[in-house]
């Protein structure tokens, strides 16, 4: 097998879908060819990188009410959807319980959520891109979320600072490391967005990173003191 043959089989080799005979031939060639080993490393790195990409982009606003409206006008689902309904008080009770479970600065987190919704229902409509100035719903959402994020982050870090002595060193280590990782990712995504302001994905990814950090800090601020 020469290098040209190997390049043609590299994806299948890394994928594990080559026949035993071809797999053996590729492995043999890789042992003696540094250049092909580098190519193999690049293919594997690509797969690892793709697997690490953020996969938790949230919609800019709540779409369930729209879906319910469409279901109610849909002859196929009529009669099936809502066959079982729960009294409203039941939901209110659940919401009250959820609200009671919230810990510090929930209002700030709410501000972030409202920023998302307001951005989505702004002049250009829910999640629709494109105003005359080239401002998209995603960038509008980002600019609104950024201010709330920074305020929430400051407040939560201040709360955590006062609680440091009550948390275990192991917890603090994990927390500090996570804050550092998220801050690093946020900074690098912001740098990338500055270099590529037209990027469609980065604003949503940044907002998601903001929310992840706030969620984490909020949970950390509510952690019980070490016993």
């Amino acid at each position: 097998m020469n290098c040209r043959d190997l390049v043609a089989r590299l994806d299948d080799f890394v994928d594990g879908t080559l026949s035993a005979a071809d797999r053996g031939a590729v492995a043999l060639h890789l042992e003696i060819c540094p250049s092909c080993r580098e190519a193999e490393a690049r293919v594997r790195a690509l797969a690892a990188g793709a697997a690490m990409l953020p996969r938790a982009i949230e919609p800019a606003h709540d779409l369930w009410p729209d879906i319910v409206a469409r279901i109610q006008g849909d002859t196929v689902t009529q009669g099936r959807f809502g066959a079982v309904r729960h009294p409203r008080w039941h939901r209110r009770g659940a919401l009250a319980a959820a609200a009671a479970a919230l810990v510090v600065v929930s209002s700030v987190v709410t501000t972030l959520m409202v920023a998302r919704r307001d951005a989505a229902t702004g002049p250009s409509g829910p999640g629709r891109a494109g105003t005359a100035a080239g401002v998209t719903a995603a960038t509008l959402e980002l600019s609104q979320a950024r201010g709330s994020y920074e305020a929430a982050r400051r407040q939560l870090l201040a709360v955590l600072e006062t609680r440091r002595s009550s948390l275990s060193p192991a917890t603090l280590k994990v927390l500090d490391e996570n804050v550092r990782i998220i801050d690093d990712a946020v900074r690098q995504m912001e740098d990338a967005l500055a270099r590529d302001p037209g990027n469609q994905e980065l604003p949503s990814l940044l907002v998601t990173a903001y929310r992840q950090e706030i969620d984490m800090l909020q949970r950390a601020a509510g952690l019980p003191a070490r016993g």
Binding site: G49, A56, W64, R80, G82, A83, V84, G127
Partner: protein, 196 residues
């Protein structure tokens, strides 16, 4: 090159909720929506690269869930079924948007601008992931879809072929070319010329 990290669709759903949803329980259906809205929306955003289309895909996916969940017998996982519905709706969206996304072919040559991206190595730092995001954004619909479905979602070529109405060899060849293009985008100047 199947992803080794847990899928974002790995959402725990208890059997009681599924049974209630199958019976048309509105609260249970909403609970399913809340569990899967982010994974479905994220997948749709990745495949369509459009907020508007991703919202449509999310809505259409859950309309389909409401219509068909009474037929879901639990042979596979609920998450796997919902994910497949979402992929199908996203592919339909792409076809409607551009005629047929899977009729595209990948350009052979890269511009200098395409090549003006940072290096990429085995370690995946945040900066490298951003580079990969940017590079994925520069791929054609078909290349991006095949890479995402295969490398990230872990679908086989046979499964991608079935969902896209193409052959497995089409999926395979598109993936190989898309990988080659991504590697060129991510490592400018590193040409994978056969050495012998």
């Amino acid at each position: 090159m199947t992803a080794v990290t847990p899928t974002s669709f790995a959402v725990p759903v208890d059997e009681i909720t599924v049974a209630r949803a199958r019976a048309g329980d509105e609260a249970a259906l909403e609970a399913l929506f809340r569990s899967f809205e982010a994974p479905v929306y994220s997948l749709a955003r990745r495949l369509t690269r459009s907020t508007h289309d991703a919202e449509d895909v999310l809505q259409e996916t859950f309309l389909e869930v409401v219509r068909s969940i009474h037929r879901f017998r639990g042979d596979g996982s609920l998450a796997g079924w919902i994910r497949k519905v979402a992929v199908s709706k996203a592919l339909m969206k792409l076809r409607r948007r551009r005629g047929s996304a899977f009729e595209e072919t990948l350009p052979e040559d890269l511009s200098d601008d395409d090549l003006a991206l940072g290096p990429y190595g085995p370690a995946t730092s945040a900066a490298e992931r951003v580079d990969l995001e940017t590079a994925l954004g520069r791929l054609s619909d078909v290349a991006r879809v095949v890479i995402w479905l295969h490398d990230v979602e872990g679908y086989s070529h046979d499964e991608i072929a079935a969902m896209a109405g193409k052959t497995a060899s089409f999926s395979k060849s598109q993936l190989a070319r898309a990988h080659a293009r991504l590697r060129e985008l991510l490592a400018p100047g590193v040409r994978e010329e056969p050495c012998t």
